[in-house]
């Protein structure tokens, strides 16, 4: 019965659409609608008391892109996210290597649990731990003072270094997992082949293993970069509210200054910038994978 085939297919499609409906409604209501609202608001004008006027213009975007303060802030935000991404990938690689080469399944499972367990606690709690460590009367300063290595407590908190340190700690697992996955997928015989051709362990690593894990590093970088460019809780807690980071500025515009259109315009700017950078990274990743697998 060749005729029943399209009907079956159609029914199957209908069924999956019905199953998808609740999720789609939820996403539509709480993601798409707010997004469109944000876009619309970003073009609204405000009066001197930050009340929204019924007129539309590019005024908010002009403000974002002409103010030296905001332009530099955009640069800082992307730079901090980039540095965080680089450190995360660098630190994640050995961890992923250890994870994949772990002797026995039990040890590997245990290492995975260690790796993922920080994700089970909230970002706020993990960030607060850094305050406990880095504060003027925190653990690090206390120990250094007791050892007489310093005479006055160092100011370790409320600067960009503290933000990057906390970012790296919070986001490291997101870099380790994709790298570990791509490391685990490498055929061990490729390493053996490299050695049989005369390459030692180090050269085998740089010529075979490392290039083959580029996809994992790229996926990790995409996740860490977009997280680091967009989070505000961590910088707020360990960096203070004066750090020149776009997410912090958005938070202040919306909740403290109550200039919703400017906040919306900054949000859209951040979204588009991160989107473009992630798209470029994704395109490079596809290019590399296409070269290898067609």
């Amino acid at each position: 019965m060749p005729d029943s085939q399209p009907i079956k297919k159609y029914r199957y499609h209908l069924f999956s659409w019905i199953m998808l409906t609740p999720g789609l409604i939820f996403l539509g209501l709480f993601l798409l609608v707010p997004f469109v609202l944000l876009l619309v608001i970003s073009f609204r004008d405000v009066d001197g008391f930050m009340n929204m006027l019924p007129t539309y213009s590019f005024a908010q975007y002009v403000e974002v892109f002409t103010s030296k303060f905001y332009v530099r802030m955009i640069g800082t935000t992307l730079w901090v996210a980039l540095v965080t991404t680089a450190i995360c990938i660098l630190l994640a690689y050995p961890a992923a290597y250890l994870l994949v080469r772990a002797p026995g399944k039990g040890v590997r499972t245990m290492l995975y649990v260690f790796l993922v367990s920080p994700l089970l606690t909230s970002v706020v709690i993990r960030t607060f731990a850094w305050i406990v460590l880095l504060a003027q009367n925190g653990l690090v300063n206390e120990v250094l003072l007791k050892l007489h290595l310093i005479t006055e407590p160092l100011s370790l908190l409320w600067n960009m270094k503290a933000v990057i340190i906390a970012y790296v700690q919070v986001m490291l697992p997101f870099a380790v997992l994709p790298i570990a996955t791509s490391l685990g997928e490498i055929d061990p015989r490729l390493r053996q082949a490299s050695m049989s051709l005369g390459a030692g362990r180090l050269r085998t690593f740089f010529r075979v293993t490392l290039p083959l894990t580029i996809p994992g590093m790229m996926s990790g970088a995409i996740i860490v970069f977009s997280l680091a460019a967009g989070s505000y809780i961590t910088p707020l807690l360990v960096g203070g509210r004066l750090q020149p980071l776009l997410p912090l500025a958005i938070y202040q515009q919306v909740l403290q200054v109550a200039n919703l259109p400017l906040g919306a315009a900054m949000s859209m700017t951040l979204l588009v910038l991160v989107g473009v950078l992630v798209a470029v990274m994704g395109w490079l990743l596809r290019l590399w994978e296409g070269r290898m697998n067609g």
Binding site: R189, Q192, A193, L197, G198, A199, L212, G294
Partner: protein, 317 residues
């Protein structure tokens, strides 16, 4: 992996303790293990770049090696753009590029389907002849081993069972393991029969399990062999293709061996016909006949007569 005993020498050089990257062995892996991120050219050039050869020398050597496997025009392709057979040739070219003393092929044809495997066997043999490099090929396919090699080493139970030419290994297997491993075989346990008369150049034996309708043991005449001296029992190998079958009993020479069998099963494989039968008093016998031997397939249950020459009975250790 650490060897438990013994040493590995290639051309007088002891390789036993050397790490893999110092061994200078051209290795071709079962799944070819081509580097997926490198082009065919860069795959073949890999070992040369490690050896820090000049760019011009590398280009020349790679071209040479790709020509040897007839893939000159594929240098710019990526491994995934090649067929299985082509990938294997690239793997061979890559191994040859470093000018190894020995080429090691680890089950190179086991991933290919039967028809392609036959083609690649021929290709591999002519390639090896052309290049003239000592090649060790690991295989589980006995036919492949017989048709490709000059010498076969049979490994079993952690030991080298026999080392010999294909002819020696097939016709004069050193022991029961080798006999059963290479090809099909009838094994006949016998006791010396001093009382039975044996024509000159042969010895007479009573089969242990192969018996006539009367229950008395089948009498076998085997060609004389020094290994049979002074032995009460022996084990003979009889290759199925040495057993000839006829519909009527044949009055042969006095030293001919013969037995009546009842056909149990017949399997037709096109060029050959495998007939398994049992003797009336017990004991199995398998015969392999060429397709033209019978106008129609013998039916199971029918009685036939098997016979073979004394020289066809090969004593095993």
């Amino acid at each position: 992996m650490e060897p438990t005993t013994g040493n590995v020498y290639i051309g007088g050089r002891d390789l036993t303790g050397l790490p893999p990257y110092r061994r200078d062995i051209g290795m071709v892996f079962q799944n070819y293990a081509l580097f997926p991120h490198l082009s065919v050219f860069d795959n073949v050039a890999y070992g040369l770049k490690i050896r820090k050869m000049s760019k011009a020398d590398i280009a020349r050597r790679v071209e040479e090696c790709l020509a040897a496997v007839r893939l000159e025009s594929f240098a710019g392709r990526m491994p995934h753009q090649l067929s299985g057979g082509q990938q294997q040739r690239v793997a061979i070219a890559r191994a040859l590029a470093i000018r190894p003393k020995v080429l090691l092929l680890d089950e190179p044809l086991s991933n290919l389907d039967a028809k392609l495997r036959k083609e690649m066997q021929t290709e591999l043999r002519s390639l090896q002849r052309r290049i003239g490099i000592t090649t060790i090929l690991v295989t589980h396919d006995q036919e492949e081993a017989l048709s490709l090699s000059d010498r076969i080493g049979i490994l079993g139970e952690g030991e080298l069972q026999q080392l010999g030419t294909p002819l020696e290994v097939y016709r004069r297997p050193a022991n029961r393991f080798v006999a059963e491993f290479i090809g099909q075989v009838n094994l006949i346990e016998v006791k010396a029969a001093a009382d039975a008369d044996a024509p000159s150049g042969t010895r007479a034996f009573y089969a242990e399990w192969h018996r006539l309708a009367s229950g008395s043991p089948l009498v076998l005449h085997a060609a004389d062999h020094p290994s049979l001296d002074g032995k009460d029992t022996a084990l003979f190998m009889l290759r199925p293709e040495r057993v000839r079958l006829s519909a009527e009993p044949r009055d042969g020479a006095a030293n001919a061996n013969g037995a009546e069998i009842r056909v149990e099963s017949v399997s037709y494989a096109g060029s050959t016909l495998r007939i398994a039968g049992v003797l009336p008093g017990g004991g199995e016998l398998v015969a392999l006949a060429g397709d033209p031997s019978f106008p129609s397939l013998p039916e199971p249950g029918r009685t036939m007569y098997a016979h073979w020459e004394p020289g066809d009975l090969i004593p095993l250790e």
